[in-house]
Protein backbone atom coordinates (compact mmCIF):
# COMPACT_ATOMS: atom_id res chain seq x y z
CA UNK A 1 0.00 0.00 0.00
CA UNK A 2 1.46 3.24 -1.09
CA UNK A 3 -0.72 5.53 1.00
CA UNK A 4 -0.11 8.18 -1.61
CA UNK A 5 -1.91 11.42 -0.95
CA UNK A 6 -3.13 13.65 -3.68
CA UNK A 7 -0.34 15.10 -5.78
CA UNK A 8 0.26 18.81 -5.62
CA UNK A 9 0.28 20.77 -8.82
CA UNK A 10 2.74 23.60 -8.63
CA UNK A 11 1.98 26.78 -10.47
CA UNK A 12 3.29 29.44 -8.12
CA UNK A 13 5.92 29.87 -5.41
CA UNK A 14 3.06 29.95 -2.93
CA UNK A 15 1.77 26.56 -3.97
CA UNK A 16 5.27 25.15 -3.79
CA UNK A 17 5.58 26.47 -0.26
CA UNK A 18 2.23 25.08 0.74
CA UNK A 19 3.15 21.66 -0.58
CA UNK A 20 6.46 21.65 1.25
CA UNK A 21 4.76 22.68 4.43
CA UNK A 22 2.24 19.92 4.02
CA UNK A 23 4.88 17.26 3.60
CA UNK A 24 7.03 18.62 6.37
CA UNK A 25 4.18 18.54 8.84
CA UNK A 26 3.15 15.13 7.63
CA UNK A 27 6.66 13.97 8.42
CA UNK A 28 6.32 15.40 11.91
CA UNK A 29 9.26 17.73 11.49
CA UNK A 30 9.70 21.28 12.67
CA UNK A 31 11.30 23.87 10.44
CA UNK A 32 14.37 23.60 12.65
CA UNK A 33 14.45 19.84 12.19
CA UNK A 34 14.26 20.10 8.46
CA UNK A 35 16.80 22.90 8.39
CA UNK A 36 19.26 20.75 10.24
CA UNK A 37 18.67 17.75 8.04
CA UNK A 38 19.09 19.70 4.85
CA UNK A 39 21.84 22.01 6.02
CA UNK A 40 19.69 25.00 5.26
CA UNK A 41 18.75 27.99 7.32
CA UNK A 42 15.47 27.89 9.15
CA UNK A 43 14.66 31.40 8.00
CA UNK A 44 15.03 30.21 4.46
CA UNK A 45 12.57 27.39 5.01
CA UNK A 46 10.13 29.74 6.64
CA UNK A 47 10.30 32.05 3.65
CA UNK A 48 10.12 29.14 1.26
CA UNK A 49 6.96 27.78 2.83
CA UNK A 50 5.37 31.18 2.67
CA UNK A 51 6.19 31.54 -0.98
CA UNK A 52 8.64 34.36 -0.43
CA UNK A 53 11.25 32.57 -2.46
CA UNK A 54 9.98 34.18 -5.54
CA UNK A 55 12.19 35.17 -8.42
CA UNK A 56 14.02 32.01 -9.23
CA UNK A 57 11.08 29.72 -8.83
CA UNK A 58 8.88 32.10 -10.74
CA UNK A 59 11.31 32.10 -13.62
CA UNK A 60 11.32 28.35 -13.89
CA UNK A 61 7.56 28.15 -13.57
CA UNK A 62 7.23 30.77 -16.27
CA UNK A 63 9.34 28.65 -18.59
CA UNK A 64 7.33 25.55 -17.84
CA UNK A 65 4.04 27.32 -18.37
CA UNK A 66 5.23 28.68 -21.66
CA UNK A 67 6.12 25.15 -22.72
CA UNK A 68 2.83 23.69 -21.54
CA UNK A 69 4.49 21.64 -18.84
CA UNK A 70 3.07 20.95 -15.42
CA UNK A 71 5.07 20.47 -12.24
CA UNK A 72 3.79 17.98 -9.73
CA UNK A 73 4.89 16.99 -6.25
CA UNK A 74 3.90 13.73 -4.68
CA UNK A 75 5.08 11.18 -2.21
CA UNK A 76 7.64 8.83 -3.63
CA UNK A 77 9.05 5.54 -2.57
CA UNK A 78 12.53 6.52 -3.74
Amino acid sequence: MKTQGQPFRIYTPASLGAAIRHYRQQAGLSQADLAERTGLNRTYLSDLEQGHETEQVKRILRVLKQLGVRMTLEEADW
Copy 2:
Protein backbone atom coordinates in the same frame (compact mmCIF):
# COMPACT_ATOMS: atom_id res chain seq x y z
CA MET B 1 -6.39 15.35 -25.69
CA LYS B 2 -3.02 14.63 -27.10
CA THR B 3 -0.80 11.74 -26.29
CA GLN B 4 1.09 12.57 -23.16
CA GLY B 5 4.77 11.79 -23.25
CA GLN B 6 6.34 10.03 -20.37
CA PRO B 7 6.74 12.25 -17.31
CA PHE B 8 10.16 13.39 -16.21
CA ARG B 9 11.20 12.74 -12.67
CA ILE B 10 13.35 15.54 -11.40
CA TYR B 11 16.05 14.72 -8.91
CA THR B 12 18.85 17.06 -9.93
CA PRO B 13 19.33 20.41 -11.65
CA ALA B 14 20.68 18.48 -14.60
CA SER B 15 17.52 16.44 -14.99
CA LEU B 16 15.44 19.59 -14.72
CA GLY B 17 17.48 21.14 -17.48
CA ALA B 18 17.21 18.06 -19.65
CA ALA B 19 13.45 18.04 -19.28
CA ILE B 20 13.16 21.70 -20.15
CA ARG B 21 15.33 21.20 -23.18
CA HIS B 22 13.19 18.29 -24.26
CA TYR B 23 9.99 20.26 -24.05
CA ARG B 24 11.48 23.32 -25.67
CA GLN B 25 12.68 21.34 -28.65
CA GLN B 26 9.41 19.51 -28.83
CA ALA B 27 7.74 22.88 -29.06
CA GLY B 28 10.05 23.77 -31.92
CA LEU B 29 11.48 26.79 -30.13
CA SER B 30 15.03 28.05 -30.01
CA GLN B 31 16.52 29.31 -26.78
CA ALA B 32 16.14 32.81 -28.15
CA ASP B 33 12.47 32.19 -28.88
CA LEU B 34 11.79 30.97 -25.42
CA ALA B 35 13.84 33.76 -23.90
CA GLU B 36 11.73 36.30 -25.68
CA ARG B 37 8.46 34.66 -24.73
CA THR B 38 9.38 34.42 -21.08
CA GLY B 39 11.22 37.69 -20.79
CA LEU B 40 14.33 35.88 -19.68
CA ASN B 41 17.87 36.02 -20.88
CA ARG B 42 19.00 33.44 -23.37
CA THR B 43 22.18 32.83 -21.43
CA TYR B 44 20.08 32.02 -18.42
CA LEU B 45 18.13 29.43 -20.39
CA SER B 46 21.32 27.94 -21.74
CA ASP B 47 22.66 27.56 -18.24
CA LEU B 48 19.36 26.25 -16.98
CA GLU B 49 19.20 23.53 -19.58
CA GLN B 50 22.70 22.47 -18.76
CA GLY B 51 21.93 22.27 -15.10
CA HIS B 52 24.17 25.16 -14.17
CA GLU B 53 21.36 26.86 -12.31
CA THR B 54 22.35 24.98 -9.29
CA GLU B 55 22.02 26.39 -5.84
CA GLN B 56 18.40 27.30 -5.56
CA VAL B 57 17.13 24.27 -7.36
CA LYS B 58 19.45 22.05 -5.44
CA ARG B 59 18.20 23.43 -2.17
CA ILE B 60 14.60 22.79 -3.03
CA LEU B 61 15.34 19.33 -4.33
CA ARG B 62 17.25 18.59 -1.17
CA VAL B 63 14.24 19.56 0.88
CA LEU B 64 11.95 17.43 -1.22
CA LYS B 65 14.23 14.44 -1.03
CA GLN B 66 14.45 14.74 2.70
CA LEU B 67 10.67 14.74 2.86
CA GLY B 68 10.32 11.80 0.51
CA VAL B 69 8.67 13.86 -2.17
CA ARG B 70 9.15 13.47 -5.90
CA MET B 71 9.02 16.25 -8.45
CA THR B 72 7.56 15.42 -11.81
CA LEU B 73 7.26 17.33 -15.05
CA GLU B 74 4.79 16.37 -17.72
CA GLU B 75 2.75 17.84 -20.50
CA ALA B 76 -0.40 19.49 -19.31
CA ASP B 77 -3.56 20.39 -21.11
CA TRP B 78 -3.98 23.55 -19.07
